[in-house]
Symmetry: C2
Subunit: 469 residues, 2 copies
């Protein structure tokens, strides 16, 4: 009979030792297919352990399909074709894997679009989290609707109404874990067979997401006043995906005449839609936020997207979109199956943050903070000798502006020289999907995270670069 030495002093239970020993013998072929195993009673006597222990081992072996039982006959070894491959290969692969090298870290960086993390209102957030954890336990474990917790959608709708004058029904709002995720929902909602027009230059991410789902896309050149509508009219696109109020990277603002033209384009055919990504519209200086396309759309064609990444913190992972009413039945049909991607705890906490007035206070505080930063950078630029060599473009909105350098030095030389002096500089052309000559020698200045003490250094680096020939 089968004999195994089991260790009663081991931390591993006896049943598991026995199960493991038999399993090894089966997988290594020592026990052959259809071979009968000892009866529980005999095996128990033979090994000097209880029948229950044998039974538990057999049960586990049977559950995994290593043995099978025949009524009144006992247990038999199952027929198993073990797949044998060298396993060293596998371990090597993980340790060989190269971690993608990030862009070199420089002392100064005009290209980073990180907001200053110190501005996050930790104390208030902690207080609200605690109160939600105390008061809303039942709601916290109740699955939220696919579109997100109603309280948060209501809070966002009221905020948009009070802050932007936008008339939005909470039913139109969909909460998602970041704007990328909302794009994935929209591909499903509108259908991957559609053709999308995207901005050139523009976010590489948007192009790549469409590409990965085999959605066809065409480029719309971005002019100094936003996308070129003649190109759109010539294209076969069904969907336009744009940031009309502060285009990335150019900062271009689509004027109202073009907005109406764009809406007219959309209303010409039944299935045309506009995806409006309004990612940093809260930060406009010296005036009101620009009215969104959503506000002037009377034919139900605009899908409006915004995020709390810029206005609060990106690691919160909360964005939202406003669907035109005509798309709501389709949302329910196609996307209602998804669980919402944001945890209830954070949805309720953000709802309270908005409802109790903290969000508006935070926005006002941040707008002043960014305005001061921007004014400081602009003032220093203007007062330096740089002012003769650069023009400043699109500085009234958003967290970055553009400088156009009046020089014959090629862009890549400028970037290279900057890097040698520890400054990361990103040209607009870096975001070209295809050539767009309007934006040569234009560079991004992301001022939101520049320290005051660094401005003079950055200016002299730029001066150096432009003086060399």
């Amino acid at each position: 009979m089968l004999t195994y030495s089991l260790h009663t002093s081991s931390k591993i239970p006896l049943y598991e030792q026995l199960y493991q020993a038999i399993k090894t013998d089966i997988l290594e072929g020592k026990l052959k297919a259809n071979e009968k195993l000892p009866s529980k009673r005999n095996f128990s006597k033979h090994l000097g352990i209880s029948v229950v222990t044998i039974e538990t081992s057999y049960q586990q072996l049977q559950a995994e399909g290593l043995i099978y039982s025949l009524p009144k006959k006992g247990f038999f070894v199952a027929q198993i074709q073990v797949q044998r491959v060298k396993s060293e290969k596998r371990i090597r692969l993980v340790s060989d894997l190269k971690i993608r090298s990030e862009n070199p870290k420089t002392k100064f960086n005009l290209g980073s679009n990180q907001i200053n993390p110190e501005t996050f209102p930790f104390a208030t957030w902690s207080k609200l989290l605690r109160s939600v954890l105390n008061d809303n336990q039942e709601q916290l474990v109740e699955p939220s609707p696919s579109q997100g917790v109603l309280e948060l959608r209501q809070a966002i709708a009221s905020h948009l109404n009070a802050y932007r004058g936008m008339a939005v029904d909470p039913q139109q709002i969909v909460i998602g874990a970041g704007t990328d995720y909302l794009y994935l929902l929209l591909i499903q909602l509108l259908g991957p067979e559609k053709t999308v027009a995207i901005e050139n230059p523009g976010y590489p991410k948007i192009k790549k997401i469409y590409e990965q789902f085999k959605v066809s896309y065409q480029f719309l050149p971005v002019q100094k006043d936003g996308i070129d509508l003649a190109s759109l009219n010539k294209s076969t696109a069904d969907i336009v995906h744009i940031s009309p109020s502060h285009q990335f990277p150019t900062g271009a603002i689509l004027p109202i005449s073009k907005r109406y033209e764009l809406l007219a384009w959309a209303s010409q055919k039944k299935n045309r839609f506009i995806i409006e990504d309004d990612f940093d519209s809260e930060f406009r200086f010296g005036g009101k936020p620009l009215p969104s396309l959503q506000e002037i759309d009377h034919s139900d064609r605009v899908i409006y997207i915004n995020t709390f990444s810029k206005s609060l913190v990106s690691t919160l992972r909360i964005s939202y979109m406003i669907l035109p009413p005509q798309l709501l039945p389709l949302f329910q049909e196609r996307l209602d199956l998804y669980s919402n991607t944001v945890s209830n705890l954070e949805q309720y906490t953000l709802a309270k943050f908005i409802k109790d007035g903290y969000f508006e206070k935070h926005l006002n505080r941040m707008r002043l903070y960014y305005q001061r930063k921007r004014d400081d950078v602009l003032k220093n630029f203007k007062e330096s000798s740089l002012s003769e060599h650069i023009s400043i473009i699109n500085s009234s909105s958003g967290l970055h502006f553009i400088i156009e350098m009046k020089t014959t030095i090629p862009e890549h030389t400028i970037c290279q020289r900057a890097l040698e002096q520890d400054l990361s500089l990103i040209p607009v052309s870096y975001f070209y999907h295809e050539e767009n000559t309007l934006w040569s020698n234009c560079f991004i200045v992301n001022y939101s995270n520049i320290k005051s003490v660094d401005i003079t250094n950055i200016i002299s680096i730029l001066e150096n670069i432009l003086q060399e020939k």
Copy 2:
């Protein structure tokens, strides 16, 4: 000259009143395209307000593209083609929208797969949240890698090692806001042009997600011991998407011989992969958790998915997957662009929850809790007259089992009669994508949320149903 009456006592700033008034006149056509606006100085005298106020209004109008300026000539009305559509239509649409009616709420429900919310460890979770908010502020605002916070991936890897004996490198782990989201990543990783084999019966959601991205799929009939491999070998599938250790809804367990056959199938061609969704594997009674396919895969073909929805709470929205090492370079190429979808705060809190041993304690507590519930339900079933009319199937794992009713009463009549007595009963056939005769008259018993006091009632309802002819 243009005349507007402005209200100095209004809460709306003067510049905004003026801006609004001019805007309305432009959009309504009272001010014509290319008409010259008054000079700032003259307008200021005329309206009795400061030049700065006029300037701010003009700036806002210009930013929106309602007016344009010509150097040394002044400001002119832009040419705008306003899109005019009745706006009542829009409001009607929202209020008319039917909210999808949910399944009728019954007093007793054997079909709901909600876990009992009272089991969530609120006190511990609050404590850990507080400590993370105090100690990790810098990490909380620093964008996490696309795969998720390293601390959480390390904690999961150690847990899998200690609890399941799985050898996983944290580099292989990808955190995501729910299992649905991981499916969306996998479609992009493996490519939407692939053909996926899915279980029949199975989660309707999985089929629908593939459908929406136009991914082609084929069905694998689920037999009493899991998917039919003969069908797989006949299919043209590249990917198999299954739950081998506790199939939903049948509860079927794939025996080890079939597991090896499946792995052998995968290794036959270069681009074959297996998606293993191991959603409630933590809850196995009377033995160890079943070894996953991932553990015995030596050819790098298994993508393992698990979630904290069952083991902790679904509203946390945290799932993870383990990629085979060979797919890691492809992940970096295709999916590294995505921001992780789970907030840093919750990633760090869960990491601490696991690392400090709370998760394992919680799992052990919950396994006992569920085992008691299951035993209670099973015991009552067996001791009732029901026992002659039903067989219990697949009750050793997971949070539901199956009862097969030995009766000629059609399934829909059984469900209808149950509903009349306030009991929701869901047949396995409800989850058929196409006919599968093996599972007729089989019903789901989701015992995890049945209250002890309700068991007797549920049993007598079932007895009633089966006694009627």
